[in-house]
Symmetry: C3
Subunit: 334 residues, 3 copies
């Protein structure tokens, strides 16, 4: 594609030769002389001057090697360019002969169902589904249109899924919640997890994340929530609209997360909490109390040099005694 | 079911109309006027007055809307009610024609084996097994009665499993332990993981948890241990009877956990440690030393407001200097 | 095997009867009187005196019950013994009749492909591959020689894999990276993840670890990197040669880890960072800034008794006020 056409199609102003031919896109350190790259993060501004790329999508004022494609939102322009140059892999519609589909299941038009997929009794799936090889959908699941499930996804019985839901490889929806009572004859007795999971429209769930079914009622992931890999959502949680949960987050049972909240990687939240709408929880935080709507909280201690760390921790664990010494000094000075 | 009959069957004293018909159960905020709910957690006591439910299972003295089902243990009574109203999904006995079962495998009576399950050479499985679609059991595994394995479970070669074991979707039992020596020609050389995993009776393992085989001997999960989702148990660990490990816990190699210990979510333990019987480890703790039997330890820092957090951390990393300033003051005051 | 022969084959000096017959190996607490054990970790030195084993592989000077097999590197000698006594399970070469292999895929000599494995269009795999049941390889993947993939592995489209790569059960290579833009009509818009993943020679990936494909270019895991279970590598990361990443580590997008770095369990790293070559990051650290080459950093707070912990944390969150009180005292003393 000529650079002039590209600039026009991604909404940028071109500083450079519009007739220059470019063939694709690349990261700033790796893009070749026929590729286009971008700079959106200030960490990479210096590299915009040394990149070998033919052109750099960048905000006005950033000095770049080669041609510049100017826009106030370089990241969005780059994403538009990705869509121009890249046709994602998509299996052709059709049902693989080895897919084990119950006669009572209903699957909408134009579905692509891969090898060895299993679709149980009374399952209902909307139009344009993409169900990759080795997906297992248990009985009585209902799913909307444009469903995408990659290999190894498991959807347990009775789960309800809206439109435009996308599940990365190995996501497990509707496993039994972790609930026990002390057994009447000793040991522990599993509490039947009779509820389900609801994934509303536009929910996306990352690879190997697990969303447990509720003991009663439903674990609910609301519209547009985006969940990264290896995340654990326990039984009875309610995850709000347009929330973002980064990788390895863990949410204990019955906790509610308000709309638009964002949780960083490896955050853990105790059960029966309310995290307010729009809250932002820093990576690695341990959330042990309710969080107010709009609050920004943090807790993961940034890693520091190990020698200093040992000295710090030695004092840290003696903090109560330190406070007493200060009190004694203050008394003496009075 | 009539409320009077329900009260009798779940062991509650009824305050209300015994002829009232109820159709099921629901969470306190969602139960409809023909449903029964419960209140066991003090956080929800206030909601017992506003619920639309026909009846509330509650301890004596809790004020409730509608009828009351009184008991000292509302949670247990509610679980009994769950069992009355709910018949869990259970596949009918039978071997799916696509299951790939080695001729040398032996499977007990009344087994339900799902589509595309793979059962290897010389595997032995007891009576009443439920093996869902896409379970893979490698050769030479022995399994007791009433085994439940949901879709995507993998049990590697030679693992030994007792009675009444339940594995949620994607649990991996017996993957190779993570052990390397510096290679004799540089790099790293994998240590053969020649041992196995033993899951004793009544062990339950959550979705996508991984329990690695030992280098030599066995990684052992003892009777009645309950393990939540996305938990990692490394090679050579010994997890005691009736322990509870919450989601995303990680236990490094050769660590022993005593009977009845409880580990909160995202706890990590170093290798070669002993965590004593009955110990309780708070969520997110990093356990770097042995823990005495019966001890309660904690470590995950509760999330706090990010502005305060930044100020706190700035002082935190200067704690050794703070201590020196206090010492200097004390000296001056002497 | 006779003890004399064993000593010779594993490079040890024997103190004991060379004609003694030994039948295998065991852990120090469990080895029987015909087995050999070892002591390499100082925690177990005392047990070397009480083991029932016929012989103990130990460094000179360690007092042992029974015979001694002396060497300066007992762990390596023990590993050699493991290889002598143990023949690991290995499926026989051959393609299982249920494997769904695209006619356009090419698979090298002596491959063992298990039941229900799925190998997509134009996949190329080298010699001596071991592909266990229920592995799914999407189209256009290239893989070198001696590939090992255990059950449930998923390799997404276009991934490139070198020689001698080993993937534990359920590893997911090439899931879509977690990248979104604010949607032009509200909500969030997924950024196409058009890149891929490259696993170089001798890379090993643990059970249920997930390595996401890059938005553009490749997420790269370099030669000899060893990754434990349940690890998350986000899109665009570059993980250096001969690194070790312990279980449940999470690396955010575009972070680079230098050669030989070692990350302890449950470490989390923010995005766009550089962790230098040879750095060692203590378990549970939250890495929020670049780490210098060769640095050793730590951060996970060791678990302490819960009563002390509560008192410590109460002071911890008031650290800024504590500092002010010290400043006030210092001023007063001037």
């Amino acid at each position: 594609m000529k650079l002039g056409e590209l600039a026009q199609r991604i909404g940028c102003e071109l500083e450079g030769d519009p007739a220059l031919e470019v063939t694709g896109l690349g990261p700033i350190d790796e893009a070749g002389p026929e590729e286009v790259t971008f700079v959106a993060n200030e960490r990479y501004v210096a590299r915009a001057r040394s990149t070998r790329a033919a052109a750099v999508i960048a905000a006005p004022g950033i000095v770049v090697a080669g041609a510049a494609l100017r826009t106030a939102d370089p990241y969005r322009a780059f994403v538009r360019a990705l869509r121009l140059f890249h046709t994602p892999y998509r299996p052709a519609p059709g049902i693989h002969p080895t897919a084990a589909i119950s006669p009572s299941a209903r699957i909408g038009e134009r579905a692509a169902v891969g090898a060895y997929a299993v679709i149980g009794e009374r399952v209902s799936i909307g139009a344009d589904a993409r169900i990759d090889p080795h997906v297992v959908i248990y009985p009585d699941v209902t799913i909307g249109d444009r469903f995408v499930a990659h290999a190894g996804v498991v959807v347990r019985e009775g789960v309800r899924i809206g439109n435009d839901v996308r599940l990365q490889p190995g996501a497990v929806i509707g496993g039994d919640g972790f609930g026990y009572l002390p057994g009447e004859k000793g040991g522990a007795e599993a509490i039947p997890q009779t509820g389900t999971v609801v994934l509303e429209d536009e929910v996306e769930v990352g690879a190997h994340s697990t969303i447990d079914r509720a003991a009663v009622g439903a674990t609910r992931i609301r519209r547009g929530a985006k969940i990264d890999n290896l995340v654990m959502i326990a039984h009875g949680c309610d995850v709000g609209e347009f929330t973002f949960l980064a990788a390895q987050v863990g949410i204990s049972g019955s906790t509610r997360i308000g709309a638009g909240a964002q949780l960083g990687g490896q955050v853990g939240a105790a059960g029966h909490l309310t995290i307010g709408a729009g809250a932002r929880i820093g990576a690695k935080s341990g959330v042990g109390n309710d969080v107010a709507a709009g609050a920004t909280v943090a807790s993961g201690i940034p890693a520091i040099d190990v020698r200093r760390y040992r000295r710090v921790i030695a004092v840290f664990s003696k903090l109560p005694e330190l406070l007493q010494r200060i009190r004694r000094i203050e008394k003496q000075l009075k």
